[in-house]
């Protein structure tokens, strides 16, 4: 059994890189490999990974579960659960290569599924309900099936990650054979040695994927906050909480992306107090989402079916550089990682602390495209309804 009990929070330094083509043109995996390998010094061979969007054309309407398993028995358990809870369209082992330096890798398999709602054979077209269903399913596999982990669960996207240097992981998963309109890559320098493939980045939930350089000092607070909403942090790393917070704020609470970023890395009170129009909103964000704030040094890239976002912590304690060239936007820990794949960018800049770089695909570029620039209504919270009287006049006629 993987020894996961030792580490409740990962501590590591890292290199990150991401590319997006705004018109949805597919980019070869070779590009991201080149960029992340350029930052080899930022890792120590104990973890690397890639997230790719647009890699399963023709399967866009199915949630793709990338499952990592310790043994075939764990996979059988997963398959049994999937048979009960999903319509399984297709399954196959994730193609890998033998790499000399990678010893005893886990098993990798992908499943293309749709949710099967209890008591109904017909599908429900409610996207939020379907997404919630998949989130629950992922939580169930991750917490209940020993030795099996879902490493990605979005539509038309997938994550490939493991223990090794980025070039080794890329070779193992045959990354150069995939083509995607968004790529993110990660190179890890953990200070502990979990030797666990699940601990590598990117981390995902649904089509959210995160690569992260930093340490989230507020982990304990964030984790407890997320538990209130049914998220269970099982991968034992602080990056996981970022994925879940984004999912909660954007998908479930319907906050516009920019507002969610403000919750993650809000301005200081002394800045908010000076604001005029925005003060009320910022104050509310800080009060209501204080426990979702990510405190500590970080630079993160997160991607979804439709966009790529780069964000620094509120005092910029980790590097992040962005660049543009035509329809391509690049973000990375170091400018060198960008120049390695785009020697002549139109514009290069270092985003300010807490100021997100949000790049979305042009509208209607891909199937199931998601856009989070605008807000949506908030999902109802059962508990809130029950204690609502706490702030709504009950006997008052006023």
């Amino acid at each position: 059994m993987w020894n996961r009990t030792l580490i409740s929070k990962e501590i590591s330094g890292c290199g990150i890189s991401g590319i997006i083509h705004k018109k949805g043109k597919l980019i070869s995996g070779e590009v991201i490999i080149k960029s992340i390998c350029c930052q080899e010094e930022r890792g120590n061979g104990l973890g690397a990974g890639f997230a790719a969007y647009g890699i399963y054309p023709g399967m866009e309407n199915f949630y793709t579960l990338h499952v990592m398993a310790e043994n075939s028995y764990a996979l059988e358990l997963v398959e049994e659960l999937l048979a009960h809870q999903t319509f399984l369209n297709y399954q196959e082992p994730i193609p890998t290569r033998k790499v000399k330096t990678i010893k005893n890798p886990p098993l990798f398999k992908r499943y293309f599924v749709r949710p099967k709602f209890e008591g109904e054979l017909t599908e429900i077209c409610d996207e939020l309900a379907e997404d919630n269903y998949i989130v629950k399913l992922v939580m169930e596999i991750n917490t209940k099936i020993e030795g099996a982990y879902v490493i990605s669960s979005g539509k038309n996207m997938g994550v490939f990650k493991g223990v090794g240097f980025p070039d080794e992981i890329a070779e193992f998963f045959r990354i150069e054979e995939y083509k995607a309109f968004i790529w993110t890559g990660h190179n890890r320098f953990p200070t502990n040695t979990p030797g666990w493939w699940g601990g590598a980045h990117p981390f995902t939930i649904l089509d959210w994927s995160i690569v992260h350089n930093g340490e989230i000092s507020s982990y304990g607070t964030n984790k407890r906050y997320l538990e209130l909403f049914g998220y269970k942090c099982t991968l034992l790393t602080d990056t996981e909480v970022v994925a879940y917070i984004l999912d909660l704020l954007i998908r479930r609470h319907g906050l516009p992306l920019k507002v969610a970023c403000l919750a993650l890395a809000p301005p200081f009170w002394m800045e908010i107090d000076e604001m005029s129009e925005e003060r009320e909103l910022l104050t509310a964000i800080r009060i209501i989402y204080g426990s979702a704030m990510l405190n500590g040094p970080f630079a993160i890239l997160f991607a979804y079916n439709g966009g790529l976002v780069g964000l620094n912590d509120r005092v910029k304690l980790r590097p992040l550089v962005a660049a543009e060239k035509g329809d391509l936007v690049y973000m990375a820990s170091e400018e060198a990682a960008i120049r390695a794949i785009c020697p002549d960018p139109d514009k290069v800049w270092a985003p300010k602390a807490g100021e997100p770089v949000i790049v979305e695909l042009e509208p209607n570029t891909i199937p199931n495209q998601r856009s989070y620039l605008k807000g949506r209504p908030r999902e109802e919270d059962e508990n809130e309804l029950r204690v609502k009287c706490a702030y709504t006049p009950l006997f008052a006629s006023k």
Binding site: A284, I287, R378, V387
Partner: protein, 508 residues
């Protein structure tokens, strides 16, 4: 000769007078409210009655030539591990008088202090510590019930809050002053607390003794209390502050009401409390309109109605065995914040047995309440205020890491104004002019001095909290709330660590 009074035979303290230093100025006689120092006019010498000394150290502090030393009385009983002088003397007192043992302050029994078994974290290498002298460091905290999330709308390309938040209280530092009534403590201390609260951006609590007319101007920094005695309670009082605290119980004496001995009820107190001069103000054990949780809900909303839903309603309970379930009920009953007062919480007057043996330590209570509210999906919608035994800024940090939003300090604030913990507040003779309303004695502590000392204390704690936060790599207090990662236990059992939800030091 009448019946011997055993309790007077064996004094607790010994007054040592250094004759070579004493100038016979008689200052000690004037300072001692317990008449332990006597002037023998005939012999022109100073004498002492050790049995009357309560160990307040006032004479020692005020003696212009430092000629007095107060020490434990050297006379000793034969050693016995069970029958310590404390128990022997208490039995003498009760055998002499036939009464309930009375005392003041918080639990004096060395029941395990969990704060002292918790250590904090700091950043090294992987994560830079933040320097509060050079970077912003935020302690601001909002108290009250909150919605689970917000909704925004876009107006002219800008995001705006769709529905304003319910009323909330802003604290610039999550340290408030616990309920101490005017009556239990002097008006000067109340004035000092009120002014300090205003300048620090925090709140003080009137306690159950009403609000003196001179303090209405500090309304935006005031919590008014509604306790079972309803002393001094009228609609202007309820509307005077920013929050109303329903006091169900207090950590020093769970299960019983307040005690203000008639000796302390002076003219001013009588006016403020709306009771006759010299009458004992004993509030009943229960609120006689709250015999169940639904009655509490009734009172919460009655108070909200009376104040047009502009004031927050806190409910304060003593930390008892079932504190978590009770707290959850309180939140569901509509309270805006739950106040938990632990075993070590102080008081001006309590039966010794209650003070020392009833209730549970606040550290365990905070964690249990925080956990229960999280399990029930309510934690983010309410506030937890912890009190009872907070002695230093590290205790504040630990309480918040265990799940509190803010803390109350009471005893610490009184020590700041000179209290030496003699534990005789109930006599009304406080030689330091704190827990008294004797017009002569209160002059010993002018309001300006009280203000300055209390302000300084909390200001200093604020600095320390910022330094500790920075060392942990946090620049905002909300990232500490409930953050057990920042705590490790030293020398606690598995059960204790489970309740506190902390790991042992050495565990990663």
């Amino acid at each position: 000769m009448g019946t011997p009074q055993f309790s007077t035979f064996y004094p607790d303290f010994y007054i040592e007078r250094l004759e070579n230093r004493c100038i016979k100025c008689k200052r000690c006689v004037k300072e001692c409210t317990y008449e332990a120092h006597l002037w023998d006019e005939k012999k022109k010498i100073l004498k002492e009655d050790h049995t009357k000394c309560i160990g307040c150290h006032r004479c020692e502090a005020m003696c212009p030539t430092k000629a007095i030393i107060i020490k434990p009385h050297p006379s000793q009983f034969r050693e016995h591990a069970n029958w310590t002088p404390w128990f022997i003397k208490n039995i003498y007192k009760q055998a002499d008088q036939g009464g309930v043992l009375l005392t003041s302050t918080g639990c004096a029994v060395p029941i395990k202090n969990y704060f002292d078994h918790l250590v904090l974290d700091a950043c090294q290498v992987t994560n830079p510590p933040i320097d509060p002298l050079r970077e912003p460091m935020e302690l601001r905290t909002y108290i009250g019930s909150k919605p689970s999330g917000i909704e925004v709308e876009e107006v002219n390309g800008k995001f705006r809050l769709k529905k304003p938040l319910p009323p909330l209280i802003k604290l610039e530092i999550p340290v408030m002053f616990a309920a101490m009534s005017f009556g239990a403590i002097s008006l000067h201390v109340h004035q000092g607390l009120a002014r300090a609260a205003r300048d620090l951006g925090t709140l003080y609590n009137t306690g159950e003794g009403g609000l003196h007319a001179s303090l209405y101007e500090y309304g935006s920094n005031t919590i008014v209390q509604c306790a079972s005695g309803r002393f001094g309670l009228h609609v202007d009082y309820l509307n005077a502050g920013v929050a109303i605290e329903i006091k169900i119980g207090q950590g020093a004496k769970p299960g019983i009401g307040g005690h203000l001995p008639g000796e302390k009820v002076t003219e001013e107190i009588s006016k403020t409390r709306m009771i006759p001069v010299g009458s004992d103000a004993l509030s009943p054990a229960p609120h006689h309109d709250i015999y169940s949780i639904e009655d509490l809900r009734g009172l919460i909303f009655a108070l909200k109605e009376a104040t047009e839903y502009k004031k927050l309603v806190f409910v304060k309970i003593a930390a008892v065995h079932n504190v978590a379930a009770i707290a959850s009920g309180i939140v569901r009953a509509g309270a805006d914040a739950v106040v938990i007062d632990g075993l070590k919480g102080g008081t001006g007057a309590a039966p010794t047995m209650f003070r020392d043996y009833i209730g549970i330590p606040i550290e365990l209570a905070i964690s249990a309440v925080d956990k229960r509210l999280r399990e029930e999906g309510l934690r983010h919608m309410t506030s937890i205020i912890a009190s009872g035994g907070i002695r230093c800024s590290a205790d504040v940090v630990k309480a918040i890491a265990l799940g509190a939003d803010a803390v109350y300090i009471g005893t610490a604030a009184l020590i700041a104004v000179g209290c030496s913990m003699c534990q005789r507040c109930y006599t009304g003779k406080c030689p330091w002019g704190i827990a008294t309303n004797n017009p002569e004695l209160i002059k010993r502590l002018p309001p300006e001095v009280a203000y300055e000392k209390i302000y300084n204390l909390v200001h200093a704690w604020g600095h320390e909290i910022k330094e500790m936060l920075g060392a942990m790599g946090l620049n905002s207090i909300e990232s500490l709330r409930g953050n057990r990662d920042k705590l490790r236990a030293v020398g606690l059992t598995k059960e204790e660590m489970e309740i506190l939800e902390v790991k042992h030091a050495g565990e990663v």
